[in-house]
Symmetry: C4
Subunit: 293 residues, 4 copies
């Protein structure tokens, strides 16, 4: 990381390719990265299928090494091109990037493959960055706003579901007992949640008439309870919809405010994103956005 002024040019160029998506090179990089991530996830999945692993173990092993090396190069490039590497390394995505790179290196030291699979699965989280999903989700912002507005009520609702499950779970344990599969109160509570949410695996099912009667009550309750969160979300969402409609109408009457177009630029200094389209300086650290233009 001993970089001096002269090579600023290729660094800022590389920065643009890796962190931004406005140039053709940047887009190509993102697509390649996305493919690598999805392929890597597919390999993790296929490796877990024993008869596929038995047949293609060699291929999957090599593929995993190829992806590990690609990710290593990318990780190093990301560190080099940022002005404040530590900031990146300890950011959320920095840690995810590191963790999704090291599993193969760790396999030299650790034997257990289970922990490594978990690490490799974390690569899924990298997809979010490439897709810049946060922005896409911004389009359906309303959805998350209506969820936030109804958060308190949904919490109360979940608490009620939990208490009902504990009460009825204990009741079913006392009535049915271990012979019908209700071996303990925690298992009974688990069964009660399975029933109340209308999932109904059937690995445990009441056998006695009284147990079946209470199970019927639990089911009808669960059937009715499902109406509550739906009603809440629906009403809140509807309210958000109207607010939006009204705001739009008002805007129409007055004057349409220029929509602020955001681009995929990322600050060379602090990696902050979501800059305005014509921004010349980072809104966060004041650094120039395009130092070489």
């Amino acid at each position: 990381m001993n970089k001096n002024k002269p090579n600023k040019t290729w660094r800022s160029k590389l920065h643009e390719v890796i962190y931004e998506a406005d140039t053709p090179a940047g887009k190509t990089f993102d697509v390649i990265l996305l493919v690598a991530i999805l392929a890597s996830l597919a390999f993790v999945m296929l490796e877990s299928v024993s008869h596929i692993d038995a047949k293609y173990h060699e291929f999957l092993f090599v593929a995993e090494w190829v992806i590990t090396i690609l990710f290593s190069i990318e990780y190093i490039a990301r560190i080099i091109t940022v002005k404040q590497p530590l900031r990146y390394i300890f950011s959320f995505y920095g840690i995810i990037d590191l963790l999704s790179t090291i599993p193969m290196y760790l396999s030299f030291f650790i034997a257990g493959s289970h922990a490594l699979i978990a690490l490799r699965s974390l690569r899924l989280l990298r997809v979010f960055r490439v897709l810049k999903l946060a922005r896409y989700l911004g389009a359906s912002n309303m959805l998350s706003m209506s969820l936030k507005a109804s958060r308190a009520k949904i919490f109360v609702f979940l608490f009620a579901v939990l208490i009902l499950s504990i009460i009825f779970g204990t009741l079913m344990y006392l009535i049915e007992g271990a012979d019908s599969g209700f071996t303990s109160i925690p298992v009974s509570v688990y069964w009660c949640i399975v029933t109340l949410t209308t999932v109904g695996f059937g690995d445990i099912a009441p056998v006695t008439p009284i147990g079946q009667f209470i199970a019927a009550i639990i089911m009808i309750m669960g059937y009715g309870i499902i109406a509550v969160p739906t009603g809440i979300v629906s009403a809140e969402y509807s309210a958000q919809n109207k607010k939006d409609g009204k705001a739009e109408e008002q805007a129409d009457h007055k004057s349409k405010p220029a929509e602020i177009q955001m681009n995929s630029q990322s600050c060379f200094n602090c990696n902050a994103t979501e800059h305005k389209d014509k921004a010349e300086y980072c809104y966060k650290c004041g650094h120039r956005l395009h130092p070489n233009e």
Copy 2:
């Protein structure tokens, strides 16, 4: 297809019978066709039930041939009566008509009955034309409009369901392992979708306490998540409902626009449908609709 003017009369008459439904003959033809299609589907289903096939194999074989011949005659008639046969042959319904006619002819060349069953099942799609379902659905146009309006949000929602399934599926694979039926990550993800959608087959079910605990979380999440698409569709549908209501009110205040009554006529030249009631020329190709009147 070497048709000259003199027999234009019977051709246009046949065209009216086959493609339109306003005359008694046209209606009778549609009803017979509908019965033939449904009967043919019933035969495909019954043939797949082994003990019925064993008993009535002869009858089902003959019946299939009768239907194949009927469909063949209809297909040829459709080609003859249209002015631009190629246009019909390569239209969506033209291909469906062909595919649902040929399975028995193909059985001379191909041994595998499986592909033929698939072909024969395609006949179901022919029902849509006879029922002119598109028009009937037009009545509940609002429904599809509200679905379209919420498409983007539903896509985000489905994407969220998928990612949750992959994350929790991997987690369950690591916790439960092959002994409880979670033999690989893809199977675990499948189980996770089964649970999240509250279907709950029970062919695979968690056995360890930690696995059951996480399963309970997945279920309650699934129970809550179902509220989201419902809320969206409900709110969008409600909004569409209001727009309609307002539009109607405004129309009431001004002057009721004459409702355009559409009929089942179909152009003799290009087969375009949905002409206005008193239309004399095709709105698409300008050809006369009733050349002999």
Copy 3:
């Protein structure tokens, strides 16, 4: 049925007791009848439980006879007290009354107990008359109105579910085959409905990876589809709610219309119900309602 004027008095009195519920005697009669019907249903249920039937067969047999005799007396009384007995006999409730009375008499001629159980179960329908449920439901009239308003859309929706089930059912039959339990197309379609509605018995479940993949698609589709009828009913109900609210507001501004209080009187001549409170003549046949007052 050779009735002459003198005994008109006791007939009209009995009519009041049996068909109306305003007098103490009428109410008592209704309560006794309700208890008899529910008890009779409980006996049918208990008789079907083999170990209870083995123990209490004598008692259940006697109880059934007691109820049969009670119902017989009631049936004859109903015929005697109406002026136009044939009208009652061939009315909906007249036939139900007859069918729920005769099972025990039929048991002398018919051996099969199954058909008799079905007949005895019909007694459940008698509950509706006693509860005068139609009137109670009238209170939640809005509910049925919103259901009616969305009938056409719900039909389209059900049709779509059916077609999806047939298409995916055939597909699963071709993919999974008889080894996984998908023994025929009808069974596959049945499985598809079980999955699409998120019931998920688990007696049949896909085993092949492709089958499980398609099953996952069916489940997520079913999960999304459930949003449609909910959204429709919710929106229509909401609209009805608003109409009611507006109507009420308008009424408040003008003048509260006297609410027409209906009573439980029933015409002595034609058995028409839902007369106004102070009505003296039947609105249907013009007969005096209280001939002896």
Copy 4:
């Protein structure tokens, strides 16, 4: 309970600690109590898991005694500090407190552990008092109001579900019979509720084609029926939402009413809660709230 004036001071102080939550001591007391209740519930659950009970029986036994003694002290303290002890003893929470204290004492006299587990599970209800949940739920008051408004309609709906279950349950019993698991009408009705609510355990499943056909109808019906309560709750909730919004708007136009801040004080004399913040006398019995200030 022979208390005279001099020791009024420590009694009222202890009253403040036990019944109120405004002082640090009161808050600490509540937290300790909450931890004790939750720990006690956890012990009940763990004791029911046979392999845990086998290993840690000694520990769980001692822990249960510790909790019993803590609860005993608390119960006596509650009685001593109230002026009208009988009022507390026979209040709802007074009885719950007693019942959740005595199980271990009862174990000397009663052998059956089942009834004792039920008693110990009642401790869950004590959580509500500590959390002062009633007040918290007050925030989502709207939810319960919309549930109340739609109570009558939900009752009609549940009644319909029950009648459908009885009719279809009897039908399935007649069609499937004991060989498929439909051993009696009550069991059939239970199965019908399991299916109608889309739970679908799969312990009982139709085997005959006609049975599967009717099962498919039941499922689709259940799928459609779920739309009804959801629609009702959603619409009612939406209506409540609007009322709230309007009320708020009006308040904004006029003048913001001072929000009445309620605290956790509890009357020393009659234990009434929900006093205004600056209240000096109990609104219920007129007793001074802070006698020693």
